[in-house]
């Protein structure tokens, strides 16, 4: 017998994920257990009001979530993210969380931290999450609440962080960069870096609403940074910029022949994960809401949808010139926000050119050339 029977491995380095040519296996899924949120952030792509009764009624029950999670576990899932909306708004949050843990899932939670109470602290101390991620909208009350649009939310956010810190419950901070907090981004970056164990990340790309609500989309567009502001911000944060510089050759195709000109999805979509909305809509990527690319798990099984959707999506092509002669063969496609999912949210089509994305890609290219 071999002497060493046990080993401890970080989740990301488990041997099971390193096996070459392993078959497609579900590893991770995210559950938006509610679309409701107690905040009303200007840039949010999903939220409905905390007291939205229709949204509340449409939420998957604990039993429905549990049944789907059973299927996910049987397909191999090891890790699950609870997000929203604000997941802590659900009165049965503890039941959902524990049901998932007891299936042998590692559970992460994305929260705005404003609803964290001592009861949550006791619970998380007893049943630790894999991670808690919290978005920082601002480091001042004025900026935070300019974005959240809820008076008192900044104090609630700070109180939540203090409760977690005092209890020694680890959390990771992240940020969205937008017009309302751009002036404070350096403070936000510093604040996050001081509080994080690992490197901090921020996202300057605001994508549009899943429900395609025109009024809310206008609010998101109004918050978007210009391409010049995005590259300036990237350059002002060395870890991100150096990573971009280091990988620029990998991120750009050397010549158009490297690219498949008609296939829509060249990413790793559906290789190991899926997303599920509060009302049971499954997607292979959280932003992919095209009706041909989703399944209703109140009517279909996960096991069937997991195979069926993947086969369908991977086969999808476009022969429109707008696609085949532009984005499909563009050498900058990986520096771009362009992907069929985001493009659908922007234009209602999976294969359209999006001017704003294109401008960002070219600005990033220019920025990387200047500094390389």
């Amino acid at each position: 017998m071999k002497k060493k029977f046990v080993s401890y491995q970080p989740l990301k380095k488990l041997d099971i994920w390193q096996k070459p040519n392993k078959k497609r296996t579900l590893f991770y899924f995210d559950l938006e257990i509610t679309s409701r949120c107690n905040l009303n952030c200007r840039h949010c792509y999903i939220n409905s009001a905390a007291d939205d009764q229709a949204a509340l009624r449409s939420e998957l029950s604990v039993q429905e979530i549990s049944a789907i999670a059973d299927e996910a576990v049987s397909l191999g899932a090891l890790w699950c993210l609870l997000s929203g909306g604000e997941p802590l708004l659900r009165k049965d949050f503890f039941d959902i969380y524990l049901a998932l843990k007891k299936k042998g899932l590692l559970v992460s939670v994305f929260t705005n931290a404003t609803l964290i109470t001592p009861k949550h602290i006791d619970f998380f101390k007893k049943y630790p999450p894999r991670e808690i991620e919290i978005t920082v909208y601002g480091t001042s009350r004025e900026t935070y609440e300019q974005i959240s649009r809820i008076p008192g939310s900044y104090n609630a956010f700070q109180r939540g962080l203090k409760l977690l810190s005092a209890a020694g419950i680890p959390f990771e901070l992240k940020a969205m960069a937008m017009r309302s907090n751009l002036h404070e981004m350096q403070d936000i970056i510093r604040f996050c870096a001081e509080n994080n164990r690992d490197s901090f990340r921020f996202d300057p790309f605001l994508h549009l609403r899943y429900d395609r609500n025109p009024q809310r989309n206008r609010e998101i567009i109004a918050e978007r940074l210009s391409p010049e502001q995005i590259v300036e911000l990237e350059r002002a944060y060395p870890p991100r910029f150096h990573a971009l510089q280091k990988n620029v050759k990998k991120l750009t195709c050397s010549k158009p022949a490297d690219c498949d000109s008609q296939r829509l999805f060249l990413c790793g979509i559906g290789e190991g994960s899926f997303s599920l909305s509060h009302d049971g809509v499954m997607r292979l990527c959280h932003s992919l809401w095209h009706p041909d690319c989703v399944a209703d798990l109140r009517k279909d099984t996960l096991t069937h949808a997991w195979d069926n959707l993947y086969a369908k999506v991977k086969r999808m092509e476009s022969s429109r010139k707008e696609f085949t002669e532009n984005c499909s063969i563009c050498s900058l496609k990986n520096l771009c926000m362009w992907c069929p999912a985001y493009t659908y949210l922007e234009t209602g089509r999976l294969d359209s050119w999006v001017e704003g994305f294109c401008r960002i890609a070219h600005a990033r290219e220019e920025s990387l050339k200047i500094n390389s």
Partner: protein
Amino acid sequence: MIRKAALDSVYIPSEDVVAREIEDAIIIVPIVSGITDVEDELLTLNDTGKAIWQKLDGRATLRGVIEALTTEFSAPAATIKEDVLGLVSELLRRRMVVEVSAE
């Protein structure tokens, strides 16, 4: 106080962990805190550890587990005994298994 594993005792996986078999590996996922020494690390069992774990069924004593393993593996019985006691002691220390009354 946590005792060392004993040959005439019977053990079973704790309700505080879930053993997941993924891609032929056994991964022990803790439900409660204090099971692993480091956050975000999971205990995995190799083939030998897996063979031992799967025999901790709440019925067989460790002596019985060792006898069964001796027929499956070509290693000397003394080595198997040492390995089983070593692993189960570690699992006990980590609260991943608990002792139950023999039937």
